[in-house]
Symmetry: C2
Subunit: 408 residues, 2 copies
């Protein structure tokens, strides 16, 4: 039997999804599982999008242009203009989810063996995409005690080698919920120009900024025309994760022509998803207002309630709908699996994503988990209650009186 590839063996299983078989088994045993492990919102897709689908009347579901329908790209350029990002439809390639935008950017910009610096914890699949592209992630660890703020620029400078080609951020951040300030971004701009690097920004949670904070995009910074690359997605903005529509955006023509060749190879992004993505651009402001209010309520409840559990610490997120929390356990991977395999409270349990997979530094985040507050309040209440009860009976819970220092 021929051997599979090394990258096939090394490819990490998703920490968000690797426990799915245990969740499925729990459900088969009749246990209700609250999914805080995955950013799959229960918010309704906008009516304008669902209506566009109902009105779809093509008789042949055809390929689109490899860069996506021109009508969609043109309208999308208008969306960015409204945000203060001045681009045209030729600076946009519609991708199959934000995932493909990241892959196109990695592959177009970095040779195998070259490096991208990313503050950790970071969206776990960046690791997978880096392995796919044969590139190396250099992590710079951010700290739960600062709410996972941007590490100091001197840390970045220390990490840069001759093989470093890019810095990547996710803003607002998945998994931490941190929102980078304009000042932090200007620091990144300076270092990127100083060392002639690309700056990749995953800004798919742009609309989810709380407490009056404003989002500032890498595409709004002057002088970064050739360096800045934006990865975007409709998945969370309009709660339509399943359409698999994202976008790669840059003013750098060389990158865009390279990415277009990758796009041509896979022919076209999903045609129906584009119909929905384009229609979603007409989503009324009221929709976002309601979604915003809902997430603020969920965030305030879940962070408050988690911090009341002995030994648990959850920093207050300023954006997105995640938080990386610390737990009074030594091995959150074991605890999260145990929650599904060995625990239930009133026939319910909760599924979390162990945070170790969100770090590239081995041994980091072992007592942390990512939660996504994407369920309605009542479900969140039950989920937090399950977590509280579980920590009371989990055999390896650490005495919170000794270890719960992060809150102080």
């Amino acid at each position: 039997m021929p051997k599979i590839s090394e990258r096939g063996s090394l490819m990490p299983a998703s920490p968000i999804r690797k426990l799915v078989p245990f969740a499925e088994a729990a459900k088969k045993r009749g246990i209700k599982v609250y999914h805080l492990n995955i950013g799959q919102p229960d918010i309704q897709t906008p009516d304008v999008a669902l209506t566009a689908l109902k009105n779809y009347n093509h008789k042949v579901i055809e390929y689109s242009h490899s860069a996506g329908n021109e009508s969609y790209r043109t309208k999308l350029a208008g969306y960015y203009k409204n945000l203060g990002i001045d681009i045209d439809c030729n600076q946009i390639i519609i991708t199959t989810g934000g995932s493909e935008a990241i892959l196109f950017a990695f592959k177009s910009c970095l040779n195998p063996g070259e490096e991208v610096i990313i503050p950790e914890p970071f969206y776990t699949n960046y690791n997978a995409f880096a392995l796919d592209a044969g590139i190396k992630v250099l992590p710079i660890t951010s700290d739960i005690n600062t709410g996972f703020a941007l590490p100091s620029i001197s840390e970045f400078e220390k990490a840069i080698t001759p093989r470093t080609k890019a810095i990547m951020i996710c803003n607002p951040n998945n998994p931490t919920g941190y929102l980078y300030s304009r000042e932090e971004l200007m620091q990144l701009r300076d270092i990127v120009l100083k060392y002639d690097l690309f700056l990749f920004a995953d800004e798919v949670y742009r609309e989810f900024c709380y407490d009056g904070a404003e989002h500032f995009s890498v595409m709004q910074m002057e002088g970064l025309e050739e360096n800045a690359i934006l990865m975007d997605s409709v998945s969370k903005r309009y709660s339509e994760c399943g359409v698999r529509i994202g976008a790669l955006i840059s003013r750098n023509k060389t990158i865009m022509s390279s990415a277009l060749k990758f796009a041509q190879a896979r022919l076209s992004p999903p045609s129906l998803g584009q119909v929905i993505g384009e229609a979603s651009l007409d989503t009324p402001a009221e929709y976002f207002k309601n979604v915003y209010d809902e997430y603020i309520a969920r965030r305030n409840f879940v962070i408050g309630a988690l911090n009341k559990i002995p030994g648990v610490y959850a920093p207050m997120p300023k954006g997105a709908f995640y938080s990386v929390i610390s737990l009074p356990v030594k091995n959150a991977d074991h605890f999260c699996q145990w929650l599904l395999e060995n625990f239930s409270y009133e026939n319910q349990t909760v599924m979390l994503a162990p945070a170790s997979g969100f770090y590239a530094t081995a041994g980091s985040g072992l007592n942390e988990a990512r939660i996504a507050y994407v369920l309605k309040l009542e479900d969140l209440k039950n989920a937090v209650k399950c977590l509280e009860e579980a920590l009371k009976v989990y055999p390896y819970t650490i005495n919170p009186a000794v270890h719960n220092t992060a809150k102080n």
Copy 2:
């Protein structure tokens, strides 16, 4: 300005799509362009599929399982059982088009620098996917004078090196329309086992076999359980290219667990496409009968008419809906661009895919082009007429009396 990657520079522009800007410009000048360059059928998507879309009533368009919906995979296993391919739903991963199935297979099975042998001309995007995966294509040239039959097995043996990990075929073949016989496949089976290789088979045109010929799948051969990997797609079968739904199929558990990790990284295949793919499995036999009759009529017309043009030779395809034809020109790339830029006949022109991009051997296929007979008869008639008239006035047409030897 930071430099883009080598693979970004080397990635080939799709020969099927690279002339699109010239076609768009021709259309803006008011010229009707007949698209024989791309396998985008004008056949209607089955009613069952369009109805399923109309009946879609989810309020949240969610991610699916990374391997695809279980209901779809289960029903798809039934489709394969009916073809004599005995697999279950765990041996199927639903992919974003056949393209992603090929990428998952290349990356799961081959390390960068390792080799896959493919008879050429081959589906041009295999080159792009190989470059993406960092692997090397070893081409073995098939011959227009044998209708592009499988080259002799001794040619394969000569090509095998210690880095060779796989042989890949497309059956029925895109771009040649050749259908490999059971005997040819058994020869491949023997060599694959002898050298402990994977056998990749792209069988997306399975339903398009003509003149009573039967399709034989690599999944039907005994002894290849660990070696055979099937790449499939709904695009052409149901004329729904835009849904971007394919499948990776193997009985080799190690490969499937590796591929699942790649699938998890990109979260899920398109959800709406899966609804359509699943519904399409109920397409009535009559639909296929009509499609078959239509393609037979198109094939017989187009191949007959092309062979009447002085200097043109088109072998009779036994499957799929393509043919690689030879033209009385020295440089088909130039000719195909000229057709769009400098030619029109009664305000019409024709777009072909230059065949050079379907070869990995530099300098091969320079006088060849791929045609896709995916348009209705009347359009095909006009398209062939355009080609005939074009060759009369193209400044670099070679005297057919001297060069048209392939027909003899």
